[in-house]
Each structure stands twice: as structure tokens, then as C-alpha cells.
Amino acid sequence: MITYTAITTLPRKSQAEALAEAMERLVPEPTGIGVFEIEDGSGLWEVGGYFVDKPDEGALALLTTVFDAKEFVVSEVPETDWVAHVRRELSPVQAGRFFVYGSHDADKVPDDVVPLLIEAAMAFGTGHHGTTLGCLKALDWLIGEGFSAQKIADIGCGTAVLAMAAARIWPETVLASDIDRVAVDVAVANLRANKMDGNVACVEAAGFDHDDLRDAAPYDLIFANILKGPLIALAPDVEKHLRTGGYAILSGILNEQAADVRAVYARSGINLAHSEVIGDWTTLILRKMA
């Protein structure tokens, strides 16, 4: 079945959103409308409509005038096996000894890796982003340094990929938390899929704000892949709950923000041991000194 797309670009997000709203009233009506940031540094936004019937090009031309957008490009979308297309894009990710894959790639898991089955779904942490990849590489580096952990916390766990990676190496119970209920549900499903629900416990909490997390402290290793602001706010709790000699792996930090985060943690005696830079993102491996 042939369907149609009509795509244009605009310089501002607010303009793009207003145009998308206006497109909802087109006849024939679109079955879907998307607003996307174009990730080429141009700052442009793309607005695309999906149509079962060929869109009215006159009406589209009118919209381009009203919203000062570029002329719509109307194309036919040929029938495609979109599931196969997506599966090709969602390829496995290898970070040191860790191999993160979706169930569609279960037959591609090499023998000499630590496998982690994660579907790209409704929680962050598929391994395809520089922050998650950086954390896995940081963990791989720590293991290579001969570090061993018994108590581990993963704050802002998303899919729980980091908690599971650590639990694959050190099979003591890892505590994971996320502020988002959906992420906790996804994490629990991932733990079951990886047969790790006995090794990782996941709770809904903001930071360490849960009795289970506080009671299990101090930790040998704390992961926090969140963002600069929450990481800085979390510094006093990390200092409080990390044992002396323990490590914190922090990510979600843009390269230009890394110095600020380092400085805040250094004031608590938690200093840089190593870092991983992947694209725009820095992962810090910090150690709490005596």
C-alpha cells in the first residue's frame, strides 16, 4: 500500500509546533504528524505529515506561506518491511566485555562477551547513546584495574543495563532506582528477561530517597547516569553513601560541563580516576579518597 509524506523545515521549534497543529485540520487529514529536530547542527526543525490519501498540495502551499516554512516536499512512501528496517538500525552495541543486544539479534551474541538483553523501548539505556556506552566502558575499565565491588547502587537506572552489567560481574545484589515509574517497570521486565531478578532489585525513588537504598549503604560502586544539574545536587548523598576507596561512575555530562561536575565532587573528596569521552558526552570515574 502506497502512502504519502509531506515534509518541510522551519527555523524555530515553536513555529514547527504551530504548523504541525495547523496540519491536523487538513483535508484529507494526515494519519500522523511529527516534529523533529534536525541533528546536523543547522538548528532547523522538520515537520512531516503522513497521509493515506495524496495530500492537497494547494493547502500545503498555503500553510508554507502562513508559517513562513520551506516548500513542502510530497513523496510516496513505498511499501516497506519497516520492522526489518528498524531491526537493522538497532544493532548490538559492544563496550569492552559487555554486549548489549535486542531479542532480534539473539543469534549474534559472541561466546566471549558478557551479554545483556535490552529492547529499545520505554526507558533510557539501550546502549546506543554515548552516556550509557561511556558507563559500560568505565565499568570495563574498573574491572580491568582489578577493582571488585560487593555493594552497588545504580541511581536513575532507566533500563537497568548498568545494574545488570555490574551484577553479571559481581553477582551480589545490586540496588537500582529510577524516579520514573515506567522506567522501573521496564527495568523489572529486563531483569526477568535476563534472568537477573534475583541479583538486582529496582525501586521507584528520587536519588537515594528510599529506605532500601539508605539501609544498604555504604556502597563500593555508585552509578548515576542522569544530567549535570541532578548530578551536582546528588553530590552530598554520593559522598555520604560511598565508602572510602569506592568509585562513582557519573554520566549524562556534556564535555563542556565535565569540569564543573568534577569540581563539585572534588570538594567532597571524590576525585577523578579516569574518564571516557564518547561524542559530546563525558563519563567520569571518580574515587572517594580517605
Binding site: T5, T31, G32, V35, Y50, H85, T126, H129, T132
Partner: protein, 141 residues
Amino acid sequence: MAKKLVGSMKLQVPAGQANPSPPVGPALGQRGINIMEFCKAFNAKTADLEPGAPCPTVITYYQDKSFTMDIKTPPASYFLKKAAKVKSGATTPSRETVGTVTSAQIREIAEAKMKDLNANDIDGAMLIIMGSARSMGIEVV
């Protein structure tokens, strides 16, 4: 985890019947979003709705291809056409009446749509639905 939003899209998806055909397949597929995981989650979340009811769904996705979805109630026009037992609204609603609905039906629709309407109470919601009915040539009796 560190979420970097890339974009969002609004699709009309039939309750309990999401599948890789248009618009879900091309819209998500062209962005590399896991179609089967979306369909599985959407169908589970809409299992209690009338099968096939069109649900406007806002999908927000992030740099690592993870996504969130916000499923809205079906449009008022869908409920009104069903209540009035008509296939479409009037082309000239000011001069043409294609069907009728009762106040009780308007209240039922307002209750079903309440969470997505910009109304303080059920009376305000009913006024919005009555406005939609008028704009479709459906008379409230």
C-alpha cells in the same frame, strides 16, 4: 538516565490494533524506533478501550531510540458520529443536520473525554462537546 529529546510525533492509532502498517510503520521506522515494542506497549495500554477506536498518541523519542507515549482519548467527532449513528459530519453544518444526540449522550462523551479537555468540570466539558456537535451538523435534543 540522561535523556536527550530528539523529536515527537502525533499519530492516530486504533486502540488495541497497532501494527507496522501506516502510519505506525513508516513514522516510527523512518526514525529507527522499535516498532514492535511500541505496538506491544500501545496495545497493552489500550486493551480496555473499544477495539479500533482512533487514539491520538504523542510519541516522544530520545537519542538512544527509547521513547515515551501519551495516549489521548479518541476525538469527540468519533464519539459523536457513533452516538448519532452517522458515518460523517455535515459539509455545511450551519445549514444541514446529519443526525441527533441526546444530552445524556453528550454527558457520556464529556465524561469519556474529560481528562483531555480544557474544562474545570463536567458542565464545561459538555459545552465543549456540544460545540463540536454543532460544528459537525449534529443536533443535541
